[in-house]
Symmetry: C2
């Protein structure tokens, strides 16, 4: 998949899309670390030469990387003086500015900022956001605030960064289309992030323990919850959920988003795509082209072109549908308590920053249980901000479902601070006894 | 200040409060690192022994710490099996549970989690929060959402963690008193954080570049904006601002908060303290004891007991008063642009995660300017959530001031994503040209 051609003018080739990028960079650094002592780097490129000498200076007399430099975690305090894509006057962050050779540019940036290489493959930036003005629904912004708090809680425990945006980066790309300009800008502003994880403002983490099985997606560039049969055979645009997805920070993704957003409201083909989507998907009942049907179209109709880099996840609730879930939260809480009463190591108190090991043990213990916490609960059909909702349920069912889910998630966080909501529909809390769950 | 007594049963003593804690732990580790090869640790304490052998196992044949372990930044994935204060059934997180010997307990936890020692002295957890239910002011929650986004932006750039709480941890401690149970719980849940930084929900970062000069506070445990003359001579409870402060995670702070909160609504002396505060401070015009007047009292009247560990900061806007500031933001933006047009290295584009170096250069360049961005702007007198405000200005002055400040701050963030609000009172944005500011 990735070839390392050491004798060529272009020493690093990524021949097969951009997957395994982090691995390649890491491998390159191991090779460079070795090379810098046995042979000089080809002198074609001044930047690469200076990187090689920088790497040399990081090494001790035994050739091992010095602890004092690149292995202390990302160095936020230093930018390399060498020119990168940021110094190119043609480079722009907006969707209208084409970006070419992003993989090489990103790789060069990383080589100049080696402190970001350790942990690269697992580095995720969560991107989310909402409209620039207050919600029409009187409870809307309060819910959005709590949804955001929930995401920040998840990020703190797992060491992820998060960017909340509430401006419209492209004036014509509103509502569900607004995320793509944000994602592109985030990719270019964050070359250190291997993945951008879009999470809608009305989706929340309801299992704070669960971590994405990234290894499963190592050959893919886009991961989303979806069912191929529903999309391809039953021609349903509801066969996936475009409100939560993981997209690799690479050229393939930029190219794919160019194609995907060519169905959007800023495109001259917007109307045409609305018709195509409506003709393709039986369950699409409005004329405007939307991003979810657009993605379903590309997966269903252009599978050979894009499909092999798109992973449709069904094994866990990557964006679980709230209506099936919120009624189960009390029972699930009780089941988890039962398990922890048996397995006391799971209820050992600990610092919040080391909760990952307990979370992993809990996830492993409950691997085959049928009543696991859903990883992410998505309130599809409820729109907390404008207050609209599917006719099949009431607004109160939506907002109460959200409050319950928020307290269900908050209980997993507050426990590390010694408190719990005994009732998921009540915001009040009680201190937890030492032997909790008792 | 800190004595290292190697032959004692208690090998590490912090004799003078708890300042310099991180430095002491780091020093201890250097000494231990050396000791572990020349002499066995006194066998009195099984925990300390196992720490010593753990340190041994981290070392290479030359005695240097191995890169593969403790120097890669905090290890979120591992909790030490040895017992710590978390395993003590008597330990609780609430204000009612007394905590003793916190410095030793925290130090022991750190010795068992050595990956958190690197960077300890600069490690800050920002704590903030708001009420559990929607705001009465229709625009209130929208503003709180944006205030929170602003804090998360600041944390991302500087590598800090943040915890937003919206439950009342003590049912009687509402409004301004509600922060103390949160701060105590955060201290115990985050032994890896040297500082807890309380920032009110209606305060925001308006200089994303500025970093706290922590070295200045190395001998202090509480840092807050305040003027000793106003407090002590003019007897004003407005001589400080209890809405933003930095408090060291140590026993002194827990003891101090016990005394401070003994003036709160959960205390039998609440009414008495209201009277004392009102008799002490000329400008206090309501009967309830409040935390700000309480702190002013402790600083003014019990100076010899607490004062030498409290730093009153006046050199920069640690919590600048909005009314004097928001009118200057357009001018300040223009001044900054002028400086950057002259000093082109300051306007070089870069990855968001390496913006600290540009921020530091900008702060250094503008050291003596009279029109600097205020670090934090606090909307004292405006209450975005309940909609109340000081009679001297209108609600619109408050909410428009907030919007302007939020966009002023957001411009500093969005720039790294290629966008800018050309008008601070308008939420729309434009892409920035390469040579920005042009």
């Amino acid at each position: 998949m990735a070839r390392l051609n050491s004798r060529n003018k272009t020493p690093i080739l990524l021949s097969d899309g951009c997957v395994f990028f982090g691995g390649v960079v890491a491998a390159v650094f191991v090779v460079w670390g070795f090379w810098s002592f046995i042979a000089p780097f080809p002198a074609k490129n001044a930047n690469f030469q200076s990187v090689t000498s920088k790497l040399k200076s990081l090494k001790g007399p035994d050739g091992a990387l010095s602890c004092a430099s690149s292995t202390r975690g990302p160095d936020l305090r230093h930018d390399a003086p060498e020119k990168t894509f940021y110094d190119d006057p043609e480079m722009g962050y907006s969707l209208d500015n084409p970006m070419k050779n992003w993989d090489d540019k990103r790789k060069e940036w990383l080589s100049l900022h080696p402190s970001f290489i350790q942990g690269l493959q697992e580095r995720i930036l969560i991107v989310t956001g909402s409209q620039p003005f207050p919600c029409q629904n009187p409870i809307g912004d309060h819910l959005l605030l709590r949804f955001f708090k929930n995401k920040v809680d998840y990020c703190r425990v797992h060491g992820y960064n998060i960017f909340y945006n509430n401006v419209l980066l492209h004036p014509k790309m509103e509502t569900y289309w607004s995320k793509y300009p944000m994602i592109k800008a985030a990719m270019l502003a964050h070359p250190e992030a291997e993945w951008i994880w879009w999470v809608d403002s009305d989706a929340m983490f309801t299992d704070m323990d669960f971590k994405l099985p990234l290894r499963r997606y190592k050959d893919h560039n886009l991961m989303i919850q979806g069912w191929p049969t529903l999309i391809q055979e039953e021609k349903s645009s509801m066969g996936l959920n475009a409100g939560v997805f993981l997209i690799r920070n690479c050229q393939w993704s930029l190219d794919f988003m160019d194609v995907w957003t060519s169905m959007g409201p800023q495109s001259p083909d917007y109307k045409k795509w609305g018709e195509i989507q409506r003709n393709t998907f039986k369950d699409k009942n409005y004329p405007e082209s939307d991003d979810q049907a657009g993605l379903a179209y590309l997966i269903g109709e252009e599978k050979e072109k894009w499909g092999n880099k798109i992973y449709l996840e069904t094994e866990y609730a990557f964006s679980g549908y709230w209506e099936n879930l919120v009624g189960t939260f009390e029972n699930i809480s009780e089941k988890y308590n039962e398990v922890e009463r048996e397995e006391t190591r799971l209820r050992r108190r600990h610092a919040e920053m080391v909760s990952e090991s307990y979370g992993a043990a809990r996830v492993a213990k409950l691997k085959d249980a049928s009543w696991k916490r859903p990883f992410i609960t998505h309130f599809t059909g409820c729109q907390p901000c404008n207050g609209n909702h599917d006719e099949r349920y009431s607004g109160d069912a939506c907002w109460d479902g959200m409050k319950k889910a928020l307290n269900f998630a908050d209980n997993q966080v507050l426990r590390n601070y010694g408190f719990v909501h005994p009732d998921l529909l009540d915001n009040s809390v009680s201190p937890t006894p030492f032997d909790y769950p008792a």
